[in-house]
Every structure is written in structure tokens, then in C-alpha cells.
Symmetry: D2
Subunit: 365 residues, 4 copies
């Protein structure tokens, strides 16, 4: 259970890190949208391992194949299934973790919940699962671009460990983000981040930080008050990503040290529109978008797989030690950037379709 | 849309702050659970206004009535409907806000989304909506207590503005929380918090902070990997509460400044069980509970309704000023404590039932 | 579980026949629709007991109260809760059925499923549960009338036992239906049906038949192929009604004796539109409406509560006999007519909103 | 939308008749169930074309591949994705139907709903979509067999056009069904049916009938009262199959000609259990299984694709004629038998898991 996300734009992912493959079925995509494997592949390539020395050196080609739902380059309105085959596994690489629970991995909890797990790699808890999300995000971005011509979603690294970037949130563009391997648009900070990641990696350790995401061009009115508030669905989307520990929107935890008179966003008229003078709300009020920039931050925990020797126990309840072998990400953030964007786009696309169902433009009365 | 929460323990709230009443329909409650209006009322009384001078002075009796689903003191397995009638409205109190959008309220976004709103009080965006959640939370707590005898959920204020409490998270009990009006178990900090709230209230302003919540007695195995991770559903639950801006579980944003070797929770044998030596994970690994304490923090924004004069615009797009009249909460946190507990219990109860569906104890194979 | 119906127009009913009351929460109703208690009451009055001597003589006033979701006569887009209070129970009337399972009632299955049941009257299995459906149906009809000006739903009795009415399906109107107490627009047949019902009632027995329902003014394009076909959702809606045993759409079981060349509906141009020359399809092809009349039939079983003595067993597994006392419906069909209409309207309204989400009129590409 | 079925055992199908392939994602399957491609293939082979001269002569190999959710022959509790590749299309075979709407097919309604359709073969409306259902049904049957050792589902042809079989419903077994190509366990009737199908096929026409399905070994207590009654979900499942026009459970439409005293199933003690003396209820009372055999019938319409010339119109609204070329099923029923079984198993498996969530065996109180 729990492998489907969304009400109208419904994304179901499947697949373990080893076995036949990973993929996604997207139900609820409107018809007649241009979409191609090339567009989806472009997003997948941004999350692919092996892009630089600060991410894992594993070579995974991750070529996607659209199995259904698209005909002559256009969506049919039927489910879009996208599949990425897995590479052949070398089971002998995983014999140790078949017996020993990796600390802060999902080995122990899966074993307890299900009484069985695919111990080859991360199984279902592997970051490979996010391939399906990124593919669905590519479709969601396309739909949002058609519905709202100003739509744009840009995520980027704002902090690695103690290094904090200075970024003009309202100006940053994807090309600024992809200019360096850290995916941090502040070049000076990015350099320091890269050096830090390399140094800590050399010490057999991992490091992490914060991703910020800004969404522009969303009209007022998206989001359902009460349980399906826009920020609630974004929070769920982000905390459903592997290794995330925190979410904040707009002023976030900073709001806890502000007074009402400081925090409130006064309304004003600007260019003939009702706008807010400040944007502590992060573009959402009462769970509904207000037409301002939507922005939020996601805090991650450092990669659990590290070279250093760690204490653990075995399935047969013996104490043991474990040191990761092979290649792994010293810092997941650069590859997590497109995943955060994908989940943001999926949430917003779902709410855009929900708003259409309300008859936003053809209101019945 | 969006007024239902949960997959198997399904909570649907209804009602505006003015009109007939507010309430909840709870579908999926197992049969033969003892439940009474008295038990529900006890939780409702904790969130009621008028309890102290640091919360709103409005007198709302909020007597609940169980309309269905309970027979001779026991649940039937059928929907439990709980209703709290509203007091008569004085529409003339709201004529100004009928015209002027209150800054950082949901007035503008509701008006834009729906083209109509109940301008008497907060309408559907009122905190009165949470009455239904608290009633459902009382039922959820009862179910969890029966399923897991060690179950306990305790929320409390850990920070107001710059004042930070010192609390032994693993020892704190509800009676410690309810000992003072701030609902902060650190008495010394609570005194300073109370003084701060009063002072800021006298200045016609509002102030806020952070609530922490700890859940004990949850066995390993609850939570669905991928989208319905336990932390994802908790994050959604918390961000669906009015005035919340941030959520973090376990180490939270603090994790972003830790290395993998510091953050990982080593497994060890303790009292014959597999346990973690530390609990940076916050009781959840790979989206599934690991049997340790589950704890998280929720950051709020200060009450938008303040006595000070603020800039805004009217429905007819004229710039204007607005100063709140009447009684409102200078600090929402004390009343939010039982609401946070309620939503935590609802999430955990839903996942407990989902785990039963998997045949946790009667596994088919 | 299972007390909610619909994807976007979501109807949740609650309540047992005895206890506080019965009602409904309607989520997903578009805003700014005119709706009043009077309009809902008009539909409720059509299903109310005590209308004639061929239905139960119980007097139930069934006055509805809108608790939320409507402001100044218009829907807010928030959940509409409607409540009908129950009359005080006389528990002593039910002491016998508290012990003995009524044949072909839900007593035994509820007891087995839940280990508990409200034995006062039908409990949750009572036909009173349909009050919430009829209230929601009134709202659904209103929405459909606004979306599709030609929309009309008319159900009527076509058969009672061996008496079969002759009805011009494409011409029949609600006023023709409500002209007699049987709700059969063929007056001559209605007279014979009425006499038959009375005679069988005098014999301490019950009798039943078939209701047909025709829906006009639905444009082509409603219905989701695969699982949520329009006929699949209609079938579920009808088989979810108490005492239903069969459903057929268009040619129905008659199709099983036709050849493809007889059954196929040839397309032709008529008044500038693509139409079908015949309508064996019943207005639905591949699960999607084709713009023709939608029509279907629902077969009921005779009322299980009869005056005659019947064999049964007690909760303590003793064989026993039981004869119903008090007032009950000798024939449920006349009162079931508005319920069938309500469920048809709920299904179609849900699909109309789903089609809007697809961007029917504002197709994104 | 509408490509997912079930609440806890969730089946999502994807794929058009032409393009990459068709398949299914099954979410909610309990862990540690033995399942293999061989078992799934066995069920798929029963629905495969080309089995006899009374079904289509098309050769489709339909080899299934499990992509995920199974490890070392056992389910993991994660989504099971099953894929069947499509054969290469010959688009030139479909150029005529790309322009002309086939009568009583879904061409016109898809075109109207989506403004686009895959005109190669049936597209999403093709019976190939049921491959995913049959694969999921194989898994559902396996789970039910483990949960309820007496579980058995047997469907069979009871009527073709005017030929009606005589079958002892309570005794019939799968081997009796698969003994002849018609899948009718009455051998004499099967012969006449086969001859009839061949004769009508020679006339360029199609013929059809009724499938009956019996389910044994389901304990009392499955099914959710109100909207998700067992018969309601079965009705939806069956009416969601291509070419179905009617559904009846137990006495079905026959009930409409019975009196209450005839139709009621008296309770009696039998072998120490509460049983019903007759089974007009069809194993379901108040929407919940009562432990008796569940049985129902499904009425189909004749295959729309026939060799005879038919009237129709083109996309550009010109009147035209159309005669099907190529190979098609003169009678769909033999191949529909395993599909009916699959959908029945999916519904019952979903309700079995829902009942476990209620704590059937570990009731909390």
C-alpha cells in the first residue's frame, strides 16, 4: 500500500533496485499533451548517478520507455506507463547486508513489517524508486506549463552542512542551478560545498544540507482548505522522499520568532492586481495559493551508507560491525534537486486539475 | 474537496465557524470499543477558548453530541458522527471583514477560489474546524490504547518566540503539560512565556512558537514505504493545521549539519530486543516505525488577527486599514497542543489499522 | 468503512435507524449553487413513509436541517452536512429481534462481522440510511441542471410481480410518475399493481418488482473507461441500495438473445449531430456516455419483514419462529423510486465534475 | 482516471491494444505469498485468443513478465508489476476505422471525450486491457486460497442465445468447465452452443449469452454495508468488463416475481452452524457474506465487430458503411470466463483484507 500519490493526477510507482525494473503509471493526465521519451529522459538524466565525483560513481544508464498512454507523440488520456529496466544484479555484493541491518537504513523496519525483504541493494527503499517520480514530474511540468504559461519550478541547494549560499530566490533560474555539480546557484558557496563534500567523502563519511524550491506562475485558488491544503500536500510529498527530515514553507520555523505585526503580509494593489507587500506566507494562505511565489525548504539527513565501520546487529540478533563497500553518494543533494522539483510539480498539477473540476473557469453558477 | 483524512480510519470534518454547527464523521472505527461523549468532551475542553487570559476570552461551551455509531456505550463499526452546535452569530460584528481582506487570513484566497465565502468569523478556515479533529483524535487515542497497551501521545510547547524550554522528552507526561496555562512542562520557562505573551498582547500584537510531540508505545512496522511513509502522513497532518509553517521529525533540520557517522543510529541488543543506541531517526526508518519513540516538532506562525492597525485592500480593490476588534488568541499554542496530539493519533491509528490489513499477526503465509 | 461514495462529488452517510439521527456530508459541491432545505425536503418527502396504504403506515416527519456548507442560500464549496433527527425509540418493540435473527435481514451478518449490532430497528441496515442519499441526490440534481440545461432524471415502477406496465420511456415525466401511489406512469397497470399489493399485504406477505430509470440531457463524454465506466458506477450505486438483486443497462439481459447485427446501434447524422439510430447501448458505449438517453432497470427482492410466521434461529443458536409485528412496507418500490433517482444523479454529477477536471471545455492542448 | 480498482488490494491496469504493452500494478498484496510467472501465465492462457475456432483466430502469445514485488518466488509486500508486450502493429489494417466510427464500439465516445484516440485496434477499450485484470486475479486467487482454505471460484457459460445449460451450481468444478471449448459444463448444451456459434459466425454475425459464477469457501462477514456492499462491488466489477449489460446476484431479477414468504431464506442449525435453508440471497445479506455460496450471473452483448456490412458515419460526419475485416471473436463468452473469475477474486480479496483491518480475528475489544 501507499504506492500511489494524488487525487486526479495519480502517480503509482513500482519496482525494487534489483529485479526487472522500476517505473510509474500516471493516471489522470489530460489528453492531447505533447510528451516524448526525450523530455522524460532529460529529467531522468538530471537525477542519474555518475554525473560528478561528489555523487555516486555507479554507472546507471536509466533509459526510459513509454509503454502506453501516448500515441503519435500525444497523450491519450489513458494511463501513461513508463519503465526503466534494472541492470543485472551481482547478488554476491549484498551477502553481508542480507544478514546485517545497515544502521539508519530501512533494512530492519522492512524485515519487521513484512517478514521478508529484497536485500539486494535498497530494494523498494532504494533511491531508484524516485525514477518513477521524476518521470511523472516531467509530465506534470508539461501540463502545468500548458495550463499556466508563466509556470516555472526551480529547486537548488541552499546549504551544505555549515556552508550557506546567498541566493536571490525570485531571480534564480534552472540554468543557474545546473551550472555547477552541487546544483547551488551561488558559485562561490558551491565551490566551498564541493570541497567540503570531497573532504568528508575522503574521510569515509557523508554530509548533507537543505534544498529550497520556488514555484512561479501559479494563479491564486489552488489548494483545498482543511486536510488537502497546498502546504500539507507539499509537506507530505517532500517527507515521502528518502532521507528527508524537515519541511518548511514561507517563513517556516523562522515564523516562530516573529510577531503577528511583523509576519502578516499586508495586501496592496500592484499593477492592477491584489498582491501582498511581503511574502512570509510563502504563496499560500489558508491552504490556497494566493498568486505570489510559492517557496519551501526541505532538510535532509546525511547518507546512511558510509565507508566507516559502524556498530549494528544481525538478523539473528548478534552484535556486529559493518563498513560499506562499493560506490555510494557522499552527498545526495545534487541528485535530489530534480526529485524535489518533480514532487512539487506533481502536487501542483494534481491541484490544478482539482481546481478545474470545481469549474474554475466555467463556474456552474 | 479535501475534507477527509485517512485511508482506513477515515475522518471527515464539516462546518463553518457560524451556521448550524461543526462536527466530524469517523468511518472505519473498529467495533466494540468503549467510547462516550464524556471522553470526547474531555479532549474538546482542552482546546476550548476561554481557559486562561493568554488565550481568547471568547466563551464557547462546545458541548459535543454523538449522533451515530455508538450503541450502549460501544462502537458499532458504523460511522460515528459527532456534532457541536455553533452559538448564534452576531453578523454585525463581521461587516468590516466582509469587505476588507484580513492580512494573512484566508479571506482573499477563499474569495478567489470559490467566488463566495462565509465572512462571519473564519468560516471554514476558522480554528473551530479543528473541533471535529479533536473529537476524532479522542476516538483514535482510545483505539491505539487498546491495540498497544503502552501507547501514549504527549504534545507540549517547547518554544515561545525567543524563550526555549528545557524538557526531558522521554519522561514528560500529560499531567506535566497541563500543569500550567502555557502547556509547557518546564515551569520556569512557562512563567517567562506567559509574561511574554501578556506583554505582547498588551501591545496589540501576537506571538507564537514551537510544539513538540512524542509518541510512545508504537511497535515497529507501522507506516507504508514510498508515499505514505509515517513521517509523510504526520507532516501532512501537521501542515493541514491552521497557522503551521514547518515540520521536522527526529533530528529534523539539525540533521543537515551532521555527518553520516554522527547521525546514524547504531543498532544494539537491549533487553532482548533490537534497539537503536541513539534516536536521530525519530522512531521512523524508511517510512516505517522502528519501535523507538516517535517525536516531531511543528512550527507555527503568529496569530494573524491583531489589535494593531494594518494595511489591506477591500473586495472592490480599494486600499484600506483594518484593526481587529473583539477577542482573539494572543498565542495559539496552548490550545494547539491537544490538536497536534489529535492529528498524531489519527495518523497512527490509520496506520495501525492498515498494518492489521496486512495480517501483521495472522500473516497469511 | 464503505460509507463514502464518489470521487469528486463525495457523499458520506451516517446514522442508524435509532439513536441521534441520520444524515450526510457532501464534499466537493461546487460553490455558488442555490440550494435550500425546502428543495432537499421536497425529495425527502417523496421517500417518506406513510404516504399511502401500500407503503408503511409509520409516521416519520423526517425534517432536514442543513448544518454547514450553505451561506445566504448558496453553496460555499465547503462540505454540506444535512441532518435528520430520529424519533425516540421504543426499545421494547425490538426485544424479540434482539435475540432472533430475522430471515433475509442483515441481523446475522452484522452480528458476525462486528460482534455487535444496534438491534433497534434495522440499525445501519435500515432504509433510513437512504435519507442521506436522497438529500445528496437533491444537490446532485441541482448541479446537473445547471451544468446541462436539458438534464432530467425520471425513475418509475415498470413491473410489480407479474404485472408489467407499458410505458413510453422517452416521453415519461416526473408528474406522470407521481400521479399515483404506485409511482407507475401506466395508470391502468398501476391500478392492478395497487390491488395486488393490497391483497398480498392482507395475506401477511410482501411483493416487489422492477424500477426503470431514464436520464436525459447528458452530453457525450461522461464516464471513465476501464473500472469507472458509467454503467459500472451506476451498477454499484444501484446494488448498494437495500433489497436490490439485479441491474441491467440498455438492452440488458435481453442482449444475450440478440445477434451482433441486431444489437449494434448504427450511427447516423440527425439534426447535424452524430446520433445512433437505435439505443440498445442504453446511452453508454465503452463506459462513456454517447449523448443518447441513458436508461437502466433495477430488480428488487420482496420486503423481508412480513406478518407471516417464519423459521429462524436465535443468537444462542436455538431454532425459533418469528412473525413481524408493527408496520412495514408491503412493497418498497414506490418509496424506492426517488432513491434510485438520487443515486443516478450522484453518479452522473460525480462524472460531470470528473469530466470538468479533464478540461472538457478548456482542454489544455 | 478510473484505471484503479480496490481499496486495499489495489489493481491499476495500463496499456492499449497497440503500443509497448499492457499490464498491471498490484498494490497491497500481503508479503510472503508464493507466486510465479507460471501461475499467472496459466490464467492468462485461459483468456488467450486462438484457443479454438469459436474464438478469434488471432495468435497472441501474451507471455507475462513480473517486473517487481516478487523476490525468490515470494511476494515482498511491495507493488507487483506485470507486463505483457504487444506484438508489432500493422497500422494499415486500421486505416478504415481511423476514419469511420465502428457501431457500438467505443470509437465515437473516446473521440468525443478525449479529442484523440489510438485507432489501432481497440486502443484502451480493447479486450487486451483485461490481461492485467487476469494477472491480478491470479494473485487474488492465491491470497484467498491461503486465507480461506475452502476458497474456490468457478465461472462458466450457462446460456448462449436461446440455448440454456442445465448445471448443478453447487457441484461444478473448473475441470468440468474447461472440458469443452465453450466453457459450459453441460456437455450436451455445449455441443449445441458450439454449433450455433459456428453457424452464426458463418453468417458474418456474432452471438452471446450469460456467464454464471459461483464462489465457495468465503466465511461470513466479508463486505462493507452501505456503499461498498459485496454485491455492489461485484456489480461494479462485472459492469466494468467490456460488453457487459447486466448483473444479478442470487435470485436476481427472478426475485421480482416472488413473495417475501417464498424469497426469505430461513435460518436453521446445520452441522453446528447457523445456515440458511435456501439461498435466494446468493450468499450476501445486507451487503455482507453470510457463509453460503456466493453466486451471480453476468449478461453480455454480442461482439460489435461483425463481418456484415453496417451503417455508420465518419469523423467528418459523412454517412458510410463498414464491414469488419480480419479475425474477431464470434462469441466472447468462452474467453470471458476467466476474466469474470479474476474480477470476482479481486473483489473478494479486497474485502478479505478490509475485514482483516477490522481485526476480524484480533478484535481490539
Amino acid at each position: 500500500m501507499g504506492n500511489t500519490f494524488g487525487q486526479l493526477f495519480r502517480v503509482t510507482t513500482f519496482g525494487e533496485s534489483h529485479g526487472g525494473g522500476v517505473g510509474v503509471v500516471i493516471d489522470g493526465c489530460p489528453p492531447k499533451i505533447d510528451i516524448s521519451e526525450t523530455e522524460i529522459q532529460r529529467e531522468l538524466d538530471r537525477r542519474r548517478p555518475g554525473q560528478s565525483k561528489i555523487t555516486t560513481q555507479r554507472k546507471e544508464e536509466d533509459r526510459c520507455k513509454i509503454l502506453s498512454g501516448v500515441f503519435a507523440g500525444k497523450t491519450l488520456g489513458t494511463p501513461i506507463a513508463v519503465l526503466v529496466h534494472n541492470k543485472d544484479a551481482r547478488p554476491e555484493d549484498y551477502l553481508e547486508v542480507a544478514r546485517k541491518f545497515r544502521p539508519s537504513h530501512a533494512d530492519f523496519t522492512y524485515e519487521t513489517k513484512y517478514g521478508i525483504r529484497n536485500w539486494q541493494g535498497g530494494g523498494r527503499a532504494s533511491a531508484r524508486e524516485t525514477i518513477g517520480r521524476v518521470a511523472a514530474g516531467a509530465v506534470a511540468k508539461k501540463i502545468l506549463s500548458i495550463l499556466h504559461s508563466e509556470f516555472e519550478v526551480v529547486a537548488y541547494v541552499v546549504q551544505i552542512h555549515e556552508v550557506i549560499a546567498k541566493i536571490n530566490r525570485s531571480a534564480v533560474k534552472t540554468k543557474d542551478v545546473d551550472r555547477n555539480v552541487v546544483r547551488c546557484p551561488d558559485s562561490a558557496a558551491a565551490k566551498r560545498m564541493e570541497a567540503l563534500i570531497e573532504r568528508i567523502h575522503d574521510e569515509g563519511d557523508s554530509v548533507v544540507g537543505v534544498i529550497e524550491c520556488v514555484v512561479r506562475g501559479i494563479p491564486p485558488g489552488l489548494g483545498e482548505p482543511v486536510f488537502d491544503k497546498l502546504e500539507a500536500d507539499l509537506a507530505k510529498a517532500m517527507l515521502s522522499l528518502p532521507a528527508t527530515k524537515g519541511f518548511e514553507i514561507g517563513s517556516g520555523f523562522g515564523a516562530t520568532r516573529m510577531r503577528g505585526s511583523e509576519h502578516n503580509d499586508p495586501f496592496e494593489m500592484r499593477a492592477g492586481k491584489i498582491r501582498t507587500a511581503t511574502n512570509n506566507s510563502g504563496g499560500v494562505q489558508g491552504g490556497i495559493s494566493n498568486g505570489e511565489e510559492i517557496y519551501f525548504r526541505v532538510g535532509f539527513k546525511p547518507t546512511a551508507t558510509i565507508g566507516r565501520k559502524q556498530r549494528t546487529v544481525t538478523k539473528s540478533q548478534q552484535e556486529a560491525t559493518l563498513a560499506a563497500r562499493g560506490r555510494h553518494d557522499p552527498c545526495v543533494l545534487p541528485r535530489a534537486v530534480p526529485i524535489v522539483e518533480a514532487m512539487a510539480a506533481i502536487v501542483l498539477c494534481d491541484h490544478a486539475l482539482r481546481q478545474m473540476a470545481l469549474g474554475s473557469r466555467d463556474r456552474p453558477a
